[in-house]
Amino acid sequence: MNPEQLRGNLDLILLSVLEREALYGFRIMQEARTRSDGYFEFREGSLYPALHRLTLDGLLVTEDREMGRNGKPRRYYLLTPRGREVLERKRAEWSEFKGAVDRLAHSAS
C-alpha cells in the first residue's frame, strides 16, 4: 500500500485495532496485518512513536502485564474513554471522506 495513506491514517488504524482488546506493540502490528488481510504492512519504526504519542495525548493508557522474552513485563496499550470518542470521530470523518472520494471517482463512469 501507499505509505502516505498509512501515515495519514495511522491513528485511526491503531485506535481501531485496540478497540476490541488491549495489546502490546508486536501484537498490535500483527493484528493490524491480520485484520486488514495483509494490507497494512507497518514500517515497524513508526509504530512505537505513534503509540507513545497517543498515550501522551490521553487516547491510550498502558498497563504492564505478563513477563516478555526479555524478562520484563510486557507493556499493553488500552483505549481510554477519550480515545474511544476520538476513534468515533475519526471513523465518521473517514466515512465522509471515503464517500466523497467514491462519489468523485465514480462520477465519470
Binding site: 506493540g25 508486536f26 519504526g45 513508526s46 507513545h52 504519542r53 526479555n70 520484563k72 507493556r75
Partner: protein, 390 residues
C-alpha cells in the same frame, strides 16, 4: 527468553542504546524495554522457522528500521515541545552532532543531568570498625576494609558527558577522548581540562555532578555557577545550563563541593565533615534544626553555613536567599549565635548556644589560581542569634 550469542547481545544493546538516545530516566528504560521485547519476539518467530538466532535478530533490527530514525521519532514525541525548531533527526545522527538540547532563544546551550541509582557496594578502610545500621548494610569485611551499600540506594546526580560534548563542540570547544577520560580545550584556555567517566551505561557516559568544579579547573579559566535549580555554568566565555525542566539539576550538589573546599580554607576539617545532602532524594529525614536567618543579600544569593555538633564534627549546609532576605539553613544545634571567625566554632555551648558561621558564595567554583578566597565572603546576619525548629 530468546537465547542470543554474545555478538547478538552486543548488537541488540548497541541498537537499543542508539535508538533511545536523548530520552531520560524511567522514560528511556521503558522505551528500551519495549523495543527489546519487540526485537526478541520478532527474532523468536524467525528462529522457529529455522533462522539462526543472530541472523534472526539482525533481520528484526533491520525491519524495525535505523536506530537514528527511531531515536528521532521518539525524541519528537518526548522532547520536541521543549526544543523549539530543533531538528530531532540531526539530534540522533550517528556522529552525535547534536541533541545538546540547545535552546537558541535563551542564549544557552544545555547539558543533560540525571539521577542514577548505582547499586554497587562501596568499600572503605575504617580502623574504628563498621556495623550495619538503618542507613547502611555491611556486606563484607577483610581486616580494616569494609564493603557496604546504602539501604536506601546509592543515588547520585550525574551529568551526561555525551551531551556535554555535543553542546560544547558547536561553541568552539575542542573535544578528544582517551580511554575513560575526555579532554576539553576551551577557546581561551591555555590548556585542556580532563573529565573522568564515572559511569558508563552502554555507551552513555556520565560524570558526577558534585565533581563539576574540579572537572573544569584544569582549563585555567574562571568557572562560575549561577542559579539554584538548573544552574548556568560559565567556563571563560562559554556557558551552558545543566538539566531542564523535566530533569532538574540541583545546584546544591555543586555548592556543597565548593563549601567542602571552603571548610579546609577555614581550617575546620580534619576529623571528617557532615553534609546535609539536601539534593539527595534518598537522604533520610535530616536530624537537624532549621534556622531561618535574615541576611543583607539579594534573593537567589546562595548562603552556606558552618557549625559543629557536640562531638565537634562540622556540618555544612547551603540554601538560596528567598523573599525579604530570609534563608533557611540546617544546623545541629537548636540555638545558635553567629560568629565571623571560624576559630570560634566549638563543640561547646556558650550562653546556651552553639556557634555558626555564614558565608555568601560568590558563584566562582573553580579559580585560575586554585585558591578558595574568591569563592566566598564571610557575612554577619542581621540578627546575631537564631532559634531553630525541627
Amino acid at each position: 527468553m530468546t537465547e542470543l550469542t554474545s555478538q547478538g547481545h552486543d548488537e541488540l544493546q548497541h541498537y537499543l542504546s542508539r535508538a533511545t538516545r536523548g530520552l531520560w530516566g524511567r522514560q528511556r528504560e521503558q522505551v528500551r524495554s519495549e523495543l527489546e521485547e519487540h526485537l526478541l519476539e520478532h527474532a523468536g518467530g524467525l528462529i522457529v522457522f529455522g533462522t539462526h538466532p543472530d541472523e534472526a535478530l539482525s533481520r528484526a533490527i533491520r525491519e524495525l528500521g535505523p536506530p537514528e530514525r527511531m531515536c528521532s521519532a521518539m525524541n519528537q514525541v518526548y522532547l520536541m515541545p521543549k526544543v523549539i525548531q530543533f531538528s530531532a533527526f540531526s539530534a540522533c545522527c550517528a556522529l552525535l552532532v547534536t541533541l545538546s538540547l540547545s535552546l537558541p532563544g535563551q542564549g544557552h546551550a544545555q547539558v543533560a543531568v540525571t539521577n542514577l541509582n548505582v547499586d554497587k557496594p562501596v568499600c572503605a578502610v575504617s580502623s574504628a570498625g563498621m556495623k550495619s545500621s538503618n542507613m547502611i548494610e555491611v556486606l563484607s569485611q577483610k581486616g580494616n576494609l569494609y564493603c557496604y551499600r546504602f539501604r536506601s540506594g546509592n543515588s547520585s546526580y550525574y551529568f551526561d558527558l555525551n551531551s556535554l560534548e555535543r553542546t560544547l563542540k558547536p561553541l568552539g570547544v575542542t573535544v578528544s577522548r582517551l580511554g575513560n577520560r575526555t579532554a576539553l580545550k576551551f577557546p581561551d584556555a591555555r590548556q585542556s581540562t580532563t573529565l573522568r567517566t564515572a559511569l558508563d551505561r552502554n555507551g552513555d557516559r556520565f560524570a558526577r555532578l558534585q565533581e563539576l568544579p574540579f572537572n573544569f579547573v584544569g582549563s585555567g579559566l574562571p568557572v562560575t555557577v549561577t542559579g539554584w535549580t538548573n544552574p548556568v555554568v560559565q567556563v571563560g566565555r562559554i556557558s551552558f545550563t545543566l538539566g531542564d525542566a523535566s530533569a532538574p539539576a540541583p545546584a546544591s550538589v555543586i555548592y556543597e563541593s565548593v563549601l567542602l573546599d571552603v571548610i579546609h580554607d577555614l581550617n575546620l576539617g580534619g576529623q571528617g565533615v557532615a553534609v546535609s545532602s539536601r539534593a539527595n532524594p534518598a537522604s533520610p529525614k535530616l536530624p537537624y534544626f532549621n534556622h531561618t536567618v535574615h541576611v543583607d543579600a539579594p534573593a537567589g544569593t546562595v548562603i552556606g553555613i558552618f557549625s559543629r555538633d557536640a562531638r565537634g564534627l562540622p556540618l555544612i549546609d547551603e540554601a538560596p536567599v528567598g523573599a525579604g532576605g530570609r534563608v533557611s539553613l540546617y544546623a545541629p544545634r537548636e540555638k545558635l549565635r553567629f560568629v565571623t571567625d571560624a576559630a570560634e566554632l566549638t563543640p561547646h555551648l556558650s550562653g546556651g548556644r552553639g556557634q555558626a558561621l555564614l558565608v555568601r558564595l560568590t558563584g566562582l567554583i573553580a579559580s585560575p589560581d586554585q585558591r578558595q578566597k574568591g569563592k566566598y565572603v564571610i557575612i554577619r546576619p542581621l540578627e546575631e542569634a537564631s532559634d531553630g525548629v525541627r
